[in-house]
Amino acid sequence: AQSVTQLDSQVPVFEEAPVELRCNYSSSVSVYLFWYVQYPNQGLQLLLKYLSGSTLVKGINGFEAEFNKSQTSFHLRKPSVHISDTAEYFCAVSEISTGGFKTIFGAGTRLFVKA
């Protein structure tokens, strides 16, 4: 069965500093990996995805993530954060199964960017 673990529930960081949000997953089959962002009182918005190929993927708003198959990790990074990046970030794993696909989300990491 799939599972997703986000290792940090909260990450405070100063503006213009780099940040890394950690995600580990487990699955018995090949998966697709995603990061979503959620602003207050809104739904989730797709930041980036890994399907196959290059292990470093780039997304919107300057975010990137690196897939590490041996460590079953998919950590999200940004070299320089802005106040507007303050939000909840969710790592997700999508596994194809009989009849369709199923996507499981981690518990989320709250990124708080301080001035």
Binding site: I96, G100, G106
Partner: protein
Amino acid sequence: DAGVTQSPTHLIKTRGQQVTLRCSPKSGHDTVSWYQQALGQGPQFIFQYYEEEERQRGNFPDRFSGHQFPNYSSELNVNALLLGDSALYLCASSSLRRTGRDGYTFGSGTRLTVV
């Protein structure tokens, strides 16, 4: 191009009552997935509908049921409401043909409060 539309945005119900939440998927999408997001937690998968049938289901009791219509819109029904059902209910649309490769498009959610 309209995204995912959910209604209502908020509602308050009493324990034991029944509720129906509605979702219109993004144009071109044929699959609707429903998630429950309790305060401070990640989205929990309830079920997924495609071609008017439930294709995948998470660990939710039978009190949670759904329906998909020929125009791909969907309803989530919850019977015999409990206080613990209070949460943000998110609708996510996708294309089954893409088997999850594109990720989801989420609606803004329905905030259900059970008193």
